[in-house]
């Protein structure tokens, strides 16, 4: 058996388990070990990834804003996350008077658990899924929606009006965007016929050896339903993650920091970490559903390919964050219910059409594209028109005769 970069982690895992068995350890201990290793490795690697991401976000936004960003601690400020971590750990943990002490303590714990748990379901590389269930997509949404509860606990327990407003906004926002999020993921599940993320990724892989860039042509993104589904999924996901321009639950300029106004020190760091870990997990899910997951050119290890795709998506989020102003609460809701949700529902119909129509020859393909376009484009135009009541107006300005 040759050790490859691609399968190195898996082989090391098997080797450790083999050694444990050879040492004559009891079966229950080996089983425990086999469960513990992926947990430790995933948490260690992705926590490091999170730390790096905080640095990267500050750097990227700085460059957009003509600043340098962190550059004092270590080369290019790379150790800034370490310094931030130490600061957060040593900072005083303030619990406001009148706060519900138990719930105030509980919220940061609750928010981190789903953010870490969902990593078990993601295919992080070839043969690298910790828990390979048949319903992993569904389980992902089920687990990650628990974090809404944590945000409300935090807002309620803080005994602060800003926190309360933030918590109410968080609930309204997250429940509204859960629907387009799930419906945006549905087309990929429909076409493959499985909720197993591994199967969905495999279906987007190369169908023959030596295909361009590891079968980039098979990505779901390059289909009409895949494109619409990905856009709906990505936008809903950004709202779900509280990323700007949907960051009304934090809404710095309005309600200070929303649900985590009253959190300091490491409790705040936990909220921060949960947010970033969810962002990474969501980007990994989006790449798995629509961007081919870990499929990539043969010379790159599969886990690195996924890393790069995650980075690409997160970079786009940073870009959007530093460019767009925030939406208002009612505009946010209207966008979800009146535009994104109908579009996602019609997209499911378009997916069904695409699935039924033959696509063997070029002519068949053209028919399938035409049919999907015939459904999606009028829907888009109609929705845009119906939502046009709130459209912006062009204004002309005159000059005073003074």
């Amino acid at each position: 058996m040759t050790v490859t970069l691609d399968q190195g982690f898996v082989q090391a895992y098997q080797w450790i388990l083999g050694v444990a068995r050879d040492l004559g350890l009891p079966v229950w201990l080996v089983t425990l070990l086999s469960l513990a290793i992926p947990v430790v490795v995933v948490i260690a690697i992705y926590a490091g990834f999170f730390a790096f991401l905080t640095w990267l976000e500050r750097k990227v936004i700085s460059r957009i804003q003509n600043r340098y960003g962190p550059n004092r601690v270590g080369p290019f400020g790379l150790f800034q996350p370490v310094a931030d971590g130490i600061k957060a750990l040593t900072k005083e943990d303030v619990i406001p008077a009148g706060a519900d002490r138990l719930l105030h303590w509980l919220a940061p714990c609750v928010v981190v658990v789903p953010a870490i748990t969902v990593y078990a379901l993601l295919p992080l590389g070839r043969n690298m899924t910790a828990v390979d269930t048949d319903v992993s997509v569904l389980l992902f949404f089920a687990i990650s929606s628990v974090s809404t509860l944590a945000l409300f606990i935090a807002g309620w327990a803080s005994h602060n009006k800003y926190s309360m407003l933030g918590a109410m906004r968080a609930i309204a926002q997250m429940i509204s965007y859960e629907l387009p999020l799930v419906l945006g993921a549905l087309p990929a599940i429909m076409v493959v016929g499985s909720m197993n993320l591994g199967a969905i990724v495999k279906a987007q892989g190369p169908q023959a050896t030596g295909e361009l860039f590891g079968g980039i042509a098979h990505w779901n993104l390059w289909t009409p339903w895949g494109f619409v589904g990905f856009v709906a999924f990505f936008i809903a996901g950004m709202a779900e993650l509280n990323r700007s321009p949907f960051d009304i639950a934090e809404g710095e300029s309005e309600i200070i920091a929303g649900f985590h106004t009253e959190y300091s020190g490491f409790k705040f760091a936990l909220f921060f970490m949960a947010e970033y870990l969810s962002t990474i997990a969501f980007s990994a899910l989006a790449s798995s559903l629509y961007l081919g997951g870990w499929n990539g050119p043969a010379f790159l290890p599969s886990w690195l390919v996924l890393f790069l795709k995650i980075f690409g998506l997160i970079f786009v989020m940073m870009w959007i964050r530093s460019t767009l102003p925030r939406l208002r609460v009612d505009q946010l809701m209207a966008f979800s219910w009146k535009f994104l949700l109908p579009l996602a529902i019609v997209n499911i119909f378009a997916t069904g059409l695409w699935h039924v129509l033959p696509r063997a020859t070029l002519a068949d393909k053209a028919v399938a594209w035409g049919a999907a376009a015939l459904v999606l484009i009028p829907t888009y135009l109609l929705l845009a028109k119906l939502n046009g009541g709130r459209a912006t107006e062009q204004r002309r300005y005159r000059y005073a005769d003074l």
């Binding site: 300029s253 309005e254 939406l327 208002r328 204004r395 300005y397 000059y399 005073a400």
Partner: protein, 393 residues
């Protein structure tokens, strides 16, 4: 003696200005009173709004001022005329040169001082630079309030740095310039300084285009700003609103045109007017006014004569104007900035009063905010363009 018609007992509860639509519900309903400020990221200093919210909708708003009160007027009545000049810097600390001019203009009116030609041009150049910087930064701050994550603000501050460098090289200070004197200005601008100003003016339109491409055409910004915080022309006039805010509501009023103080009658510039009087108009009014200010600057730099910068007859130290009173006003970037001075012939004024545009423009806040969301209230406040140094004095 009590008037017969006067009711006895406690005054009746005043009618609420914003009526709620009651919702059928089994739950107890209560409005949320939130005190926004004085420590809040978006109140532009230590301003406070006591807001009553029904869900997210503002039903009552009470502006609370005075956290930065420094007894400016009282201090001015105890110190010399010249000694007040650096204090005026601290009124609107974002545009100290405009305050200087307002004060100097009033004292010159009081004592009948004439200003030499070159000094007038220097005043116009410095003040219009202040206006350009102020309006650009206000647009940046407004977008910050909208949640645009610092980018527009930092871009605006980048341009501000260039102008502040000019201020520093001419007056020695970046913000608290203390540049004006009765009958002139303190120091002359060198040709190098003028070349730098020329360069800034030449490069500014490109920056404005960039800024507009990033922001004005952004659909989210337009949706957030249009139709929000509408101020009618009638209300603007009766509340004494001035400056870009009044012009956004369609009031054709600009002290530079009305009074033609200084040498403003020599320049060819226009006064833009808004049509709706909402936040978007207030934002865009400032962008348009920057372009007009650049026009004035270009003309001023071209026509600038050589000569003295200070009226030689005026004794600046131990300055004692004759008995009398004067009200001088200028168009500061925020609006009509007025100074009222009563002299008894002493070394310090008998009465000194500042009509601060930020303060007057702020009084109308509740009328603009009622019925809007909390997020809108923050944006409406941001579009008023207040500096707390001037509001509280």
């Amino acid at each position: 003696m009590r008037d017969v018609d006067e009711p006895v007992g406690a005054a009746p509860e005043p009618e609420p200005r914003y009526k709620l639509t009651p919702v059928e519900s089994a739950f107890d309903q209560q409005q949320l009173e939130v005190s926004i400020g004085p420590q809040h990221p978006s109140t532009h200093g230590v301003f406070r709004m006591d807001v009553t919210l029904d869900g997210e909708v503002v039903t009552k708003l009470k502006p609370v001022m005075g956290y930065l009160h420094r007894n400016h007027e009282q201090i001015a009545e105890r110190t010399t005329y010249l000694g007040t000049m650096p204090f005026t810097d601290r009124l609107d600390y974002f545009g100290s040169l405009a305050n200087n001019w307002g004060y100097a203009l009033t004292v010159e009116k009081l004592a009948g001082i004439t200003v030499p030609e070159r000094a007038e041009y220097l005043r116009v150049i410095m003040c219009e630079l202040t206006r350009v910087v102020n309006h650009t930064c206000v647009a940046g701050f407004l977008l910050q309030d909208l949640g645009a994550w610092m980018t527009p603000l930092v871009w605006a501050l980048r341009e501000r740095e260039k102008v502040l460098d000019v201020f520093e090289s001419v007056t020695g200070a970046r913000m608290m310039c203390n540049y004006f004197r009765f009958g002139g200005v303190r120091v002359d601008m060198t040709d190098d300084d003028l070349a730098v100003v020329q360069k800034i003016i030449d490069e500014y339109p490109a920056f404005l285009d960039e800024f507009e491409a990033l922001m004005t055409k952004n659909e989210i910004l337009q949706q957030r700003c249009q139709g929000v915080g509408v101020l009618s022309k009638e209300l603007a006039i009766s509340a004494g609103i001035s400056g870009p805010m009044a012009r956004a509501s369609g009031v054709p009023y600009d002290v530079r045109k009305v009074d033609k103080y200084g040498i403003y009658d020599r320049f060819d510039f226009k006064v833009p007017l808004g049509e709706k009087g909402d936040v978007f108009d207030r934002y865009y009014m400032r962008v348009l006014e920057v372009a007009e200010s650049l026009k004035i600057l270009r003309q001023a730099l071209k026509d600038m004569p050589k000569g003295p910068i200070q009226d030689p007859k005026t004794k600046i130290r131990n300055f004692r104007p004759a008995k009398g009173e004067a009200y001088g006003r200028i168009e500061s970037p925020k609006g009509e900035l007025g100074f009222y001075i009563v002299s008894q012939g002493d070394k310090s004024p008998y009465r000194y009063h500042v009509r601060a545009p930020s303060f007057v423009n702020l009084t109308i806040l509740e009328d603009m905010c009622l019925g809007h969301k909390l997020a809108d209230a923050i944006v409406i406040l941001g579009a008023v363009d207040i500096v707390l140094g001037e509001v509280d004095r």
